[in-house]
């Protein structure tokens, strides 16, 4: 069946139901298979499905409109360039920036590397040799800082966080020295969903005249992010966290007052020399479309996610005792539900749920080392609970049915695993004897 571009557009175009809730796409490839064979997807922090409207926008650029945007001499190139500039506009509008301040990268990891290493390299030899960041940053930020410490002799302050994952503003201000070049604090944490007070941090950095970089991969497109209100000098964005395609991201680099960076990738001088390499037109077009869709859907998405979060959290804590929510209960993105299930090991719970639900664990057994997640450790999760956590990610396309099924499965499996757990047995005994935990005699 040879479907042309136009009929393809027809198929992917969502038909909105009268309720106005754009989640119910008739004919969308997602909801069509309600009784699908795969598990429910509740891992939105890892990645998000591509919105059908985004796929719709991208497809022509894989098919007939495949030109290299840097081909100056023909219409294939001009067409691709126009599409990219439109996407740049769409993304800039989402964060209230100017299009000239958006640089496309391969993803937030590259953007973070570019921001940290780019600033460091620019200031090499100028006397600036210090970076302030937090202990709960994404690995790419921590690894970039580590690289600067080891290779270039920079010093880095890794600020601790409180039990909710929030950084202490006074500590942050005190940590900024005369030779500090950059402060990097992520907006919303990917593991526990805690939202840092970036506007206050931006104010502190402006007062101290230090660049403020924020890794906003988990926040742009979900909560309103205005670079002018935040006062960010640099901001990293990831497309595949906002219902866009994988393999593309952006770095916002402020123009007024000017932020100077040394490029990390050299080459043909694309992106005004800041990031060489042929721009990937289809993913970028998708990124732009995702940004526009997020702007339209933000209120609806937030209400939807908040409702499902409440439903999930309330139901689980009602049915099961000894459940802890990791992260701040008030300053958070509700779509990130990181729960600790006392006396049940995370990987075993993941394994029980694997057939029906796709979630992620903050436990060690799923990583190569026996160490629990560094984020959970940083917020002071006790040793006993460190291995018991699971992260559920709720998003635009999560349905109530999925949440209900997941809650039922989780409740059932946690009860089963607690029956099998010697720690739960001790816990119950302690409760019976009036809360005094008997000394455990270890063999």
């Amino acid at each position: 069946m040879a479907l042309g571009w136009r009929s393809c557009q027809q198929l992917a175009r969502p038909r909105v139901w009268a309720s106005g809730s754009l989640r119910h796409f008739a004919g969308s490839l997602w909801n069509e298979y309600e009784d699908r064979a795969g598990p429910s997807y509740l891992d939105m922090q890892a990645t998000t499905p591509v919105d059908p409207r985004v796929l719709d926008a991208m497809l022509p650029y894989y098919h007939g409109r495949f030109g290299n945007p840097h081909s100056r001499s023909h219409s294939y190139g001009w067409d691709a360039e126009e599409a990219i500039e439109k996407a740049r506009e769409q993304i800039a509008r989402l964060i209230n920036a100017d299009a000239k301040e958006i640089f496309f990268t391969s993803g937030a990891t590259e953007s973070n590397n570019m921001a940290i290493k780019g600033v460091a390299e620019f200031y090499e030899g100028s006397g600036k040799k210090h970076i302030v960041t937090t202990q709960t940053e994404h690995k790419c930020v921590l690894a970039s800082c580590r690289r600067l410490e080891v290779d270039k002799g920079w010093s880095v302050t890794y600020l601790p966080v409180d039990k909710y994952g929030l950084v202490n503003l006074q500590e942050l201000e005190d940590a900024i020295r005369d030779d500090t070049a950059l402060v990097s604090v992520m907006h919303i944490n990917n593991e526990i969903g805690t939202m840092q007070p970036v506007e206050e941090i931006g104010r502190i950095c402006a007062k101290k005249q230090v660049f403020f970089h924020t890794d906003a991969a988990q926040s742009v497109g979900k909560v309103p992010v205005d670079v002018k209100h935040v006062g960010a000098a640099l901001m990293s964005i990831s497309a595949h966290k906002m219902y866009g395609p994988k393999g593309v991201g952006a770095l916002y680099v402020r123009r007024k007052p000017r932020v100077r960076l040394r490029p990390v990738i050299d080459g043909g001088g694309q992106e005004r020399g800041m990031r060489s390499g042929t721009l990937a037109t289809p993913p970028i077009v998708g990124f732009g479309a995702a940004a526009e869709v997020c702007m339209q859907e933000m209120d609806n998405d937030t209400r939807h996610v908040q409702k499902l979060y409440k439903r999930m959290h309330d139901k689980i804590t009602e049915e099961l005792p000894q459940i802890t929510l990791n992260g701040s209960p008030s300053q958070r993105w509700p779509g990130n539900v990181n729960l600790s299930f006392a006396c049940v090991e995370g990987e075993s719970l993941l394994m029980s749920l694997a057939k029906t639900t796709a979630v992620s664990s903050g436990s060690a057994c799923t990583s190569a080392s026996l160490e629990p997640s560094y984020v959970l450790r940083a917020i002071g999760v006790s040793e006993d609970l460190a291995h018991t956590s699971l992260r559920f990610g709720i998003g635009r396309f999560t349905t109530e049915a999925e949440v209900d099924n997941t809650v039922n499965d989780v409740v059932r499996e946690v009860r089963r695993l607690r029956e099998m757990s010697p720690l739960w047995e001790l816990e119950l005994e302690a409760l019976k004897t009036g809360g005094q935990k008997q000394a455990v005699t270890w063999s």
Partner: protein
């Protein structure tokens, strides 16, 4: 056009991960079997003089095994029960351990090596330590039983 490609491959299969993939990645079927249908979960009366109990491991490491054995008059393990806080490998290792030792003489059971457990379950290298803990649990339970027996024989 995308639709036609998907229809050719069978839309359902192409769009969503197959259930079979869940099993292809990760553990051998044997581990899944022990995990979903664990044998001998539970507790024995730890006050019973013929029961040896052990609690090994650390919650902070993510692995705790409680193993109890009931030994008959002629030194044969007639029953064993376990409870485990740990990953799928740990649960499977302890479940298989109880299966192995029931019906064995105490001396035979104390000769069980972790490699017996890990080779049967085909554990990946990163999970071998779970079988080590299960072996420790067997040893500790037997030691506890022996200690109880010697205390009994000493007291009037």
């Amino acid at each position: 056009m995308a639709m036609s490609l998907m229809m050719r491959r069978g839309a359902k299969g192409a769009t969503f991960p197959r259930v079979a993939m869940v099993f292809r990645r990760g553990y051998h079927e044997v581990v899944h079997d022990h995990f979903n249908n664990p044998r001998n979960v539970g507790s024995l009366d730890k006050e019973d003089s013929n029961v040896g109990s052990a609690l090994v491991g650390k919650a902070s490491c993510g692995d705790v095994i409680k193993l109890q054995v009931k030994v008959s008059k002629d030194g044969v393990i007639e029953d064993a029960k376990f409870k485990t806080f740990g990953c799928g490998s740990a649960i499977a290792s302890s479940s298989y351990a109880t299966e192995m030792i029931i019906g064995q003489k105490v001396e035979e059971a104390s000769k069980i090596k972790n490699t017996d457990i890990s080779s049967h379950l085909k554990l990946p290298p990163v999970k071998i330590h779970c079988s080590v803990l299960a072996e420790e649990a067997i040893q500790a339970a037997i030691a506890d039983y022996k200690e109880k027996q010697s205390v009994q024989s000493v007291s009037p």
